[in-house]
């Protein structure tokens, strides 16, 4: 079906598909990557390039004494041995606070420490050499005097009155506290029945296939810094490098080539980043650093690490009334920069209970420092915690009341007549499709048959569990997210479109690509918006010099904000093409259309190709009337201005089988019904969901950064940090409901975090459903065999 005039009409609950928008087309770049033709940061080799390696602290907390570097400096191939003092002169410190998190404290950070180390794995000395191997050779002969200090490891110990302080200038180890209060929960709990949970969520980390990497290249002749970096936010790093090294932003260029996964991990500033840039400035040569896998575990941000105590008050008829929450989260020694480590906890306490009608709500958040790797935003920031807490409470209430998990949710969802709906925690939902998704999931799972099968199998000693979990997801953030707090993080995107002389379209856009298909969907939108074949649109991203500045890719904003930007830019280019064509054809532009790369009459009969239009504008502009511009390059910037966030929703179902003898869980199947608004490419949405589900199941069953009592990370390799792998993963069945946002013409919201948001919660409910007849329950993620055996009382 061909749609006319760009064909994007979002003002409907069941949008039709366009020529490209809504089509499951493969990513144009996928074949290149599969063929081994990707060019990642580590593939960048520059003339006179040097290699960096870091000596890292073996202690979680120690005072730094003398550093002996003379022998290392004399090693073969070594150009420099740099310590904290070398960088203190050239790099202004950074502090991970933002003004909208009132009271958030954090210690200023420098590339390398000058007095204390605060986590095991913290880089202390940098060697820059002709090769990475030579740099590592030199690390072996560096001597550092450490005076060990008592480490702060446990969440409760960190808050004790006599706890050693990580930041000597701070009164305690609490970085941030906040309370949200709506109504009177005390009254509600006094009057109603209630259930309670005490849930623990382990630390895990991103484990991108491509680790962090950057090549900093300072050219003193032009006083120009170029940084090739594996990141999702090149504009943010351009700003940071310019400000902290005192460079003109115009002379700083950040290029993100192919990026092998990021998941939020690659938008934080790392100490090594600043050291590498600083080393290039000092040595006036390109310097490369690629984190190896052990360095990734010991320095990439970790995620989660929460202990949440919560309770839910409900009436005899199953009506939910109030929730109280106390979330304590450990974020490592300081708050991450530039987005802070308060966002995850803040989203936990604001998302709990969000899909349900609640009259009273109170939540306390305490963000605690510890001598561990920094914790900050990672895919689905806060959502999996909030979802697990909420959905476990809902299941417990259902059990108390003898209600089915589907039924209690149906009775308590925010209903279709309530939109726009404001939650007690202050979020506003434009429109969700909670009950629709619930019903779709019920049918999709064939829920009654699953329950019957479960009952029959229990008779034979097989313990299956069924769990569901509803989520709402924060997408399309406005400046309310970071900008209002003073962060130089854009909420808008820019897109430049050029009709080339050959009649193709070149698109430069500020959202970025890390393998999820950002470039693919932009190409589809532009092709449809202009009216030419998809393969005639080339999309360029990830270079601050050649693309417009904007927000880039994070927090589920690429499709919703970047996509709308591309659509409106395409409208502008289309209008330009039609104006030029109309002048030549002596027709009214409004009577012309663009289809399949040709300007046509309203009835579709072709009048001239885009190649002819472009040829004319570029080479024979003398034929155009004087008042018609030959320009075929347009720019458009867009920032959402309506709701602060475009909330999405959906529901997951999980079927598991618990072996009560071994504590092992077989994940048999997973279902998702999701609503991310207008879908641009269902294939890519499915893969976003599927990958997200797997990450959530990793958190549920496998992934955990384990620490010993002295703050040592105990598992820093792929042997003992268990990522979910294909053999253990179930089939994942996905269906879509589309409720476009009215804030944009495109109507798209985000989908990148929806898979991760609820899959661990669904699995938690499923395992507990299986354990119920055995009189056991688990309340800690990941649900390891040991923890399940302990819950069962077997050991």
């Amino acid at each position: 079906m061909r749609r006319r005039g760009g064909g994007v009409s979002a003002a409907t609950d069941s949008p039709g598909r366009g020529r490209y928008i809504g089509r499951g087309l493969p990513r144009p770049g996928a074949k290149r990557l599969l063929a081994g033709r990707g060019r990642y940061t580590d593939d960048v080799v520059l003339p006179r390039m040097l290699h960096a390696a870091f000596l890292r602290s073996p202690y979680a907390h120690a005072r730094l004494g003398a550093i002996e570097t003379a022998e290392a400096a004399a090693m073969p191939g070594v150009h420099a041995v740099l310590t904290g003092a070398d960088f203190a002169r050239i790099c202004a410190p950074w502090t991970g606070t933002l003004s909208h998190f009132k009271g958030l404290r954090s210690a200023p950070q420098r590339p390398l420490p000058t007095d204390r180390v605060v986590w095991a794995g913290q880089p202390v000395v940098m060697v820059v050499a002709e090769s990475r191997a030579e740099a590592e050779d030199a690390l072996e002969v560096i001597g550092i005097d450490f005076e060990e200090l008592e480490p702060v490891v446990d969440l409760d110990a960190a808050r004790a009155a006599d706890a050693p302080r990580i930041d000597a200038d701070a009164p305690d180890n609490v970085l941030f506290r906040t309370r949200i209060e709506a109504g009177s929960t005390a009254e509600a709990f006094a009057e109603a029945r209630s259930v309670a949970v005490d849930l623990r969520f382990g630390r895990h980390t991103a484990v991108t296939m491509e680790p962090r990497a950057l090549v900093a290249d300072y050219d003193p002749a032009e006083e120009r810094l170029t940084v090739h970096q594996s990141t999702q936010t090149p504009y943010q790093f351009q700003d940071i490098y310019a400000r902290h090294f005192g460079l003109s932003e115009a002379r700083v260029r950040v290029i993100a080539p192919d990026v092998g996964g990021s998941f939020g991990m690659k938008l934080h500033l790392y100490h090594e980043d600043m050291a590498v840039v600083g080393a290039s400035l000092l040595l006036k040569r390109p310097v490369k650093f690629t984190a190896d896998r052990m360095e990734a575990f010991a320095s990439d941000i970790h995620a989660r690490d929460h202990r949440v105590r919560a309770r839910l008050a409900f009436a005899e008829d199953g009506r939910m009334r109030a929730i109280e929450v106390d979330d304590v989260t450990g974020v490592g020694p300081f708050s991450a920069y530039p987005r802070t480590s308060a966002v995850e906890g803040n989203q936990v306490v604001r998302l709990i209970g969000a899909p349900y009608r609640l009259s009273d709500y109170r939540a306390d958040l305490t963000v605690v420092a510890q001598n561990k790797v920094q914790m900050s935003q990672y895919r689905a920031v806060g959502h999996p915690i909030a979802c697990a807490v909420t959905e476990r409470l809902v299941d417990l209430a259902a059990r108390e009341l003898g209600l089915d998990p589907f039924e209690i949710r149906r009775r308590n969802y925010v209903t279709d007549t309530m939109y726009p709906h404001r939650t007690p925690s202050g979020y506003t939902f434009e429109r969700l499709s909670l009950a629709t998704c619930l019903d779709r999931l019920h049918a999709l799972m064939d829920y009654p048959a699953l329950r019957a099968e479960q009952a029959a199998l229990r008779e034979t000693g097989i313990h299956r569990g069924i769990g569901i979990a509803t989520y709402v997801e924060i997408t399309n953030p406005t400046p309310a997210f970071y900008g209002v707090g003073g962060a130089h993080i854009s909420a808008q995107d820019g897109c430049v479109l050029k009709l080339t002389p050959a009649g193709d379209v070149a698109c430069a856009i500020s959202i970025t690509e890390q393998g999820q298909g950002s470039e693919a969907i932009v190409g589809q939108i532009v092709a449809e918006g202009v009216g030419l074949d998809r393969d005639r649109v080339r999309v360029l991203t990830g270079d601050t010099e050649t693309t417009p500045s904007g927000g880039a890719t994070w927090a589920c904003r690429g499709a919703g904000i970047g996509g709308e930007t591309a659509l409106q830019a395409a409208r502008k280019l289309r209008a330009r093409i039609l104006e030029i064509a109309a002048a030549i054809l002596q027709a009214e532009a409004s009577a012309l259309d663009i289809r399949d790369g040709a300007v046509t009459d309203a009835d579709g009969s072709p009048r001239m190709t885009l190649t002819e239009v472009a040829n004319l504008a570029y080479y024979r502009s003398d034929l155009l009337p004087p008042d018609v511009s030959p320009a075929l390059t347009v720019a458009h910037h867009f920032a959402p201005r309506g709701y602060p966030f475009a909330f999405t929703n959906g529901i997951h179902g999980s079927l598991v089988e618990v072996d009560p003898e071994t504590g092992l869980v077989r994940i048999l199947k997973h279902w998702v019904v999701e609503d991310c608004g207008r879908i641009i490419n269902p294939l890519l949405v499915d893969e976003q969901i599927r990958g997200g589900v797997v990450q959530g199941l990793g958190a549920a069953f496998f992934e955990e950064c384990r620490y010993g009592e002295t703050g040592q990370l105990l598992n820093g390799s792929m042997t003992d940090y268990l990522v979910p792998m294909a053999c253990e993963m179930p089939d994942i069945v996905i269906r879509h409901v589309e409720t476009p946002t009215q804030d944009t013409e495109l109507g798209a919201k985000g989908c990148g975090e929806a898979g991760t948001a609820a899959s661990s919660a669904a699995a938690l409910n499923a395992v507990n459903d299986a354990l119920l007849p055995l009189g056991a329950a688990v309340s800690q993620l990941p649900m390891t065999p040991e923890r399940i055996l302990r819950a069962l009382g077997v050991v």
Binding site: A133, E136, E140, M294, T662, R706, C727, T784, P785
Partner: protein, 292 residues
């Protein structure tokens, strides 16, 4: 992470390998499949001066039945173990074990001799050798000697191989027709080191178990035999009562340590579960899992 610089020499014969080792003034290591050695070098846990690549020595290859034993050359890749008809016929426990060993890319390179010489107690093959009553053939400057698997694994990553010697082959005595064997393990993910693994080898006389050899991996510093559980099976038919007796006796055989993902108690419990399941499976279909 990059290895410290080292010299590399590929040799064509065992004699040449031994000479290279003897002639090295510093530390030398034999390199076969490299699946454990190379990571150790890159992590700088080991930094030899010389790597002697024995990977092209034909005399260390081959799987054959000779002299009443199945001889498996040290360079036999795990993928070859998995695919070998001779092994499947005479020591099917090894075929089963190989399927659990890591992933295909590792199995294509990792070798029988390398795995045994490393003697990681969490590995499958060392436990299998003890259960099979195999002999490890070691070649050194003084010639070839043969060490029973029970005497070969001495401590954590320590074997009967002396410095400079090469593990050249293993010999598995051919089983009698009434032999039953099985390898199985309990792991959190396919291909991981097991939480506990069991190589079980039973010889039956009529209905009764004549001898039982049970060797566990991942429960101690070496592959661990379970003499009390073996004794509980001997002389009795393989039936729910004898299996329960073996599980009960097993508690005295194993003394694992706590580690940060699995307590000693949980590991012992899992060993008992695995023993019950493996023995039930070896009961030739007459026993069900529930009965154990």
């Amino acid at each position: 992470m990059k290895a410290r610089a080292f010299d590399y020499r590929r040799v064509a014969s065992v004699a040449e390998a031994l000479d290279a080792y003897a002639g090295c003034p510093g530390e030398a290591r034999y390199l076969a499949g490299g699946q454990s050695l190379l990571p150790a070098l890159n992590l700088r846990l080991d930094a030899p001066d010389l790597l002697i690549d024995i990977g092209r020595i034909d005399a260390l290859r081959g799987i054959a039945v000779e002299g009443g034993a199945l001889r498996i050359g040290a360079l036999t890749r795990h993928a070859e173990t998995l695919a070998s008809d001779l092994i499947a016929t005479h020591a099917p426990m090894l075929t089963e074990a190989a399927a659990y060993m890591a992933h295909p890319a590792i199995r294509n390179l990792g070798t029988m001799g390398g795995s045994l010489a490393l003697a990681d107690p969490a590995s499958e093959l060392p436990a299998c050798m003890r259960a099979l009553g195999a002999y490890i053939e070691i070649t050194g400057p003084a010639g070839i000697r043969s060490v029973a698997a029970d005497a070969f694994f001495r401590d954590l990553f320590e074997t009967a191989i002396a410095p400079g010697e090469i593990l050249s082959a293993v010999r598995v005595p051919l089983g009698r027709p009434n032999t039953r064997m099985r390898f199985d393990e309990i792991a959190r993910r396919r291909g991981d080191y097991a939480m506990v693994g069991l190589a079980a080898h039973l010889v039956l006389a009529g209905d009764a178990v004549e001898t039982a050899r049970l060797a566990f991996c991942s429960v101690g510093p070496t592959p661990v035999r379970a003499p009390a559980a073996e004794a509980a099976l001997a002389g009795r038919p393989l039936e729910p009562e004898s299996i329960a007796a073996a599980k009960a006796a097993l508690a005295g055989d194993l003394d694992p340590d706590d580690d940060d993902t699995l307590s000693a108690a949980a590991r012992k419990h899992l060993a008992g579960v695995l023993l019950g399941r493996v023995l039930s499976g070896l009961g030739d279909g007459r026993l069900t899992a529930e009965a154990a």
